[in-house]
């Protein structure tokens, strides 16, 4: 066999290679190329990744999905309160994003578009849960009260002996957020936890800026009233 005997494990001499070319060497070159392309993709912006995905590069969309799946999971989980179902909805979000990627407006932030889809899925999930007429009525009434009651602040002082103090503070904060009315909770989570701007929140929720401000203010008021006894 021309080119020398097989000696080192993993090295297979290639005839006619003009030297001791090895399969391992070829594999190393390929790995380097893949790694550099992966690094390139990781450095791309969202619109660039979307364009690459539309051009046929499947890894580009995977990078996009990996970039946002944790945040979307947190958002949907805060909305519906069910982690397993939230995972299903995040996957559904990316399937829909992939299906309609050709419609993505590159002048718009990709995250805003993804959050819009995720928010709609979460809203539908909550709507499906409240098909019971009585539950639906109670939800509507609760939402109306939340929008129309006067804002209050009764100077709730720190009460170290309060029953709630016995629970972990963060658990209580978690509960308070979960108990906000749905249309207040979504703006509160998007603003306070996800750091979205008013314009992005308006875009995601499909309401105007004035409504976003009003709902956020009411959400903060309700939040403050509930956690005030726990905070010095």
């Amino acid at each position: 066999m021309g080119g020398g005997a097989v000696g080192v494990a993993g090295q297979i001499p290639v005839e006619g290679s003009g030297g001791r070319g090895t399969m391992a060497h070829a594999l190393r070159i390929q790995k380097t190329e893949v790694r550099s392309r992966s690094q390139e993709l990781a450095d791309m912006s969202d619109p660039e990744l979307a364009a690459a995905s539309l051009a046929g590069e499947t890894r580009a969309f995977t990078v996009l999905a990996d970039r946002y799946h944790a945040r979307l999971l947190n958002f949907i989980h805060r909305m519906i309160g069910d982690r397993e179902r939230a995972e299903d909805l995040v996957q559904e979000t990316f399937v829909r994003v992939h299906r309609h990627l050709h419609r993505y407006d590159q002048n718009r932030k990709f995250s805003t578009w993804a959050y819009t889809i995720a928010g709609n899925l979460a809203k539908n999930e909550l709507r499906n849960r409240s098909r019971n007429p009585l539950v639906l009525f109670q939800t509507i009434k609760k939402n109306w009260d939340a929008d129309h009651r006067p804002l209050e602040w009764e100077d709730n002082r720190y009460r170290p002996d309060d029953l709630y103090r016995k629970r972990d503070l963060k658990d209580r904060v978690d509960e308070v957020v979960a108990q906000l009315p749905e249309h207040h909770r979504v703006v509160f989570v998007l603003r306070e936890l996800e750091g979205k701007s008013y314009e992005e929140i308006a875009d995601i929720t499909g309401v105007n800026l004035g409504t976003v401000k009003s709902r956020l203010n009411r959400a903060r008021n309700a939040f403050a009233e509930q956690i005030a006894p726990l905070i010095n």
Binding site: T58, F61, T62, A65, D66, H69, A70, L73, N74, H77, R83, E84, A86, E87, V90, Q91, F94, V95, H98, R99, L151, E152, W153, D155, N156, L169, K170, V173, D174, V177, R191, E192, L193, Y198, K213, L216, N217, R220, N221, F223, A224, I227, A228, I231
Partner: protein, 217 residues
């Protein structure tokens, strides 16, 4: 500024959406109102705690499942779709079913009681003439026209006669020989005479004649 205005517009101040002068008004009010000052402290602390809430960890198979669903989605999108709409593809089947239904409906509807009597269980196998049958069906040549008028069409005859003959052949006892029938003498012929006369015509294993029409003796 009073407490009502402070509470109504707090978010604008908190998110820096007010002018510098307006922000100063808010600060001036907090300086003289302990309740509103505490409101500001509670919200800032609460926001900090909310941001420290644990972020749900995806399950171990979340990412592989997500990649698998994306792969399935790509495969589905790449599959060529039929250009024939579902409705159009189902049209031939619907047409065939409708035609069969029409044949079955028309067949009993266009025949009278005679037909029903003819196809009822014969009272005697030795008296084929007791099984009345429309005279128009006495000869094979009349079958086509007769059946078409009596039974609603050639298709119906094609369906019913062989079926009836086969059923009769299966029901025939072992060793039994069909009686000879002379259509000319009896003036009628009925498939319920257990097949054609034993003239040596080819028979299937079930004893059913493989010929369509009886051969005269």
């Amino acid at each position: 500024m009073d407490c009502t205005e402070y509470l109504d517009r707090y978010s604008e101040y908190d998110d820096s959406l007010v002018s510098a002068d307006e922000a100063e008004r808010f600060r001036a009010h907090m300086a003289v109102c302990d309740a509103c000052a505490r409101y500001d402290r509670v919200l800032r602390k609460g926001r900090m705690l909310a941001r420290q809430l644990p972020v749900p960890e995806p399950s171990r198979d979340f990412v592989p499942q997500l990649h698998m669903r994306l792969w399935s989605e790509r495969t589905r999108a790449a599959r060529p779709t039929s250009r024939i709409p579902v409705a159009a593809a189902a049209l031939p089947a619907v047409t065939i079913v409708a035609a069969l239904a029409a044949i079955l409906v028309m067949a009993p509807a266009s025949t009278g009681r005679t037909d029903t009597a003819t196809l009822s269980t014969p009272t005697s196998l030795s008296t084929p003439t007791s099984l009345s049958y429309p005279a128009s069906l006495a000869t094979p040549s009349a079958h086509a026209g007769g059946m078409s008028s009596a039974r609603g069409g050639e298709g119906a005859r094609a369906l019913s006669l062989p079926v009836v003959r086969l059923a009769a052949g299966v029901a025939r006892p072992v060793g039994w020989t069909a009686p000879r029938v002379d259509p000319a003498a009896s003036g009628s012929y009925s498939p319920l005479t257990m097949g054609p006369p034993a003239y040596g015509g080819a028979k299937s294993r079930l004893g059913v004649s493989l010929s369509t029409y009886p051969s005269p003796d």
